[in-house]
Amino acid sequence: MVRALGWLSAVALALGLVMAFGVAPRESTQGNVQRIMYVHPPLAWVAYLAFGVVAVASIVYLARRRAGADRLAHASAEVGVVFTGLAIATGSIWGKPTWGTWWTWDARLTSVAILFVMYLGYLLLRGTIEDGERAARYCAVLGIIAALDMPLVHFSVYWWRTLHQPPSLMKPGGFSGSATILWPLLVNLAAFTVLYAYLVAKRARLLRAETEALA
C-alpha cells in the first residue's frame, strides 16, 4: 500500500513537472519566474494540510489514546515542517525577482512563517520529553492549541498587512480563467498531496518500528 503511494506520487510529480514547463504558458507580466507558482502554492497547501492532520490526530489521540494516532501526529508534524520550510523558501525565491526583496512581511508569507515556528515548537517539545506517553499527551495539547490559533493568526496577520494597504498581495497568482495555468497547478497540488501522504505513511511506519525496536 505504502509502496503504491510512493509510485503514484512519483508519477504524479513527474506529470506535474511536465505540465509546469510544457503545458503552462510563459506568463505575460512576470515572465517564466511565475512557474515557481506551480510548486509554491502546492507546498503551502500541504503545509496547512499537514497541520490540520496533526490537530485531528491529536484530538483523536486524546479521545482514544491510540498510539497510532500519536504516530500520525508526529509523522505529519515532521513531514509538515519540511514542506513548510520549502514553502517559505520557494516563496522567498519567487519574491526576489518579483518584489525585489528576499523577504517581505506580506500576509501569506508571515502566516506560513508562523506556522513553521509552531511546527518547530511541536517537534522541539517531542524531542525534549523522554517519556513517550507524556510526550504524546503534551504534544497533542500543543497541536490542538496551535491549530485553534491558526485562524486567529490568519486574520490578525491579514488585517495587520492589508488594512491600510491595497490587498493585491494576498491575491493568488493569476487564476483568471486560463486553463493552461489552472491545470498544471491542480496537478501539482494533487501530486504534492500524494507525496505528503506517502511520506507520512513511511514516517509513521518507521515510528512504529522504532518503538517496537525499543520494546
Binding site: L124, R137, L152
Partner: protein, 225 residues
C-alpha cells in the same frame, strides 16, 4: 468543595505566598524598570522615533515581563515537591487552572500598571485620551497571554529546558494577541475611539475565549502525570 471554591483556594494560596515572600513581584517590578532603560538605550533619545514605536515597545515590555511571571506559575509546586499534590487533587482539575490563571492575572495587573506608569513618566505619553479604551485592550491582551501561558507553564514545568522552551512555545501562539494589542494601542494613543479598532477588539475577545476554553478542557490532560 465546590469548583469555584477550589479555584479560589489555589489563587488565594498563590497570592498569599507571593505577599509573604514578594519574590516574584519585586523581581518583576525591577525587571520592568530595567526593561525601560534597555529600550531607551536601544532606541536612542530621538523623541519622534520613540513615539512611533511606543505601542510596540510597551507591549514588548508587557510580554517580556509576562514570560517571566507566567513561566514561574508552577515553580512553587515543582520546587517544594507539591506536583504530585496537584496530580492527586480530587475533582475537575481545571479548577486549578482557573485558580492559577486568576493569580497570574492579578500579578500581571500589578506589573502592567507599574510599567504603564513608568512609560508615562519616561516617555512622556499623554494617556488621558487613550483612556476608556486602553484598559480594555490591556485586559484583553493580558488574559490572552495568561490563558495560554498558564497552560504551557504546566506543560513545561518538568522539562529541563523549560526556560527556553516556554517562550518558544508561547510566543508564536500569541502572535494574534501581540498584533491586535499593538495595533489597537497605537490607534488609541493617537486619540482614536475604541469603535475604530472594533475589529481588533473582537479578535482579542475571540482569542481569549478560545484560549480559556482550550485551557479548561486541556489542563486535565497535562495533569495526568
Amino acid at each position: 468543595m465546590s469548583y469555584a471554591r477550589r479555584a479560589f483556594v489555589v489563587a488565594w494560596k498563590d497570592l498569599l505566598v507571593e505577599r509573604r515572600s514578594k519574590e516574584t513581584l519585586n523581581a518583576l517590578l525591577f525587571f520592568a524598570l530595567l526593561l525601560l532603560f534597555v529600550f531607551q538605550f536601544a532606541l536612542g533619545p530621538d523623541r519622534e522615533r520613540l513615539a512611533g514605536v511606543l505601542p510596540g515597545v510597551l507591549w514588548l515590555g508587557f510580554i517580556l515581563s509576562g514570560l517571566l511571571a507566567l513561566g514561574r506559575t508552577f515553580l512553587v509546586e515543582r520546587e517544594h515537591d507539591c506536583w504530585e499534590g496537584l496530580l492527586l487533587a480530587p475533582g475537575d482539575k481545571s479548577a486549578i487552572y482557573v485558580g492559577k490563571l486568576a493569580g497570574n492575572l492579578a500579578l500581571m495587573a500589578v506589573v502592567e500598571t507599574l510599567v504603564l506608569g513608568l512609560f508615562v513618566i519616561f516617555f512622556d505619553i499623554d494617556l488621558a485620551r487613550a483612556f476608556p479604551g486602553l484598559p480594555v485592550v490591556v485586559a484583553l491582551g493580558t488574559i490572552g497571554l495568561a490563558a495560554v501561558g498558564t497552560l504551557f507553564a504546566a506543560m513545561t514545568a518538568h522539562i529541563r529546558a523549560r526556560e527556553v522552551l516556554f517562550p518558544v512555545l508561547l510566543l508564536p501562539v500569541q502572535v494574534p494577541v501581540l498584533l491586535g494589542t499593538v495595533k489597537a494601542t497605537e490607534a488609541l494613543l493617537l486619540g482614536e475611539s475604541l469603535a475604530s479598532v472594533a475589529h481588533w477588539i473582537k479578535l482579542l475577545a475571540a482569542a481569549d475565549v478560545v484560549y480559556i476554553v482550550a485551557g479548561l478542557l486541556l489542563f486535565d490532560v497535562i495533569l495526568e502525570g
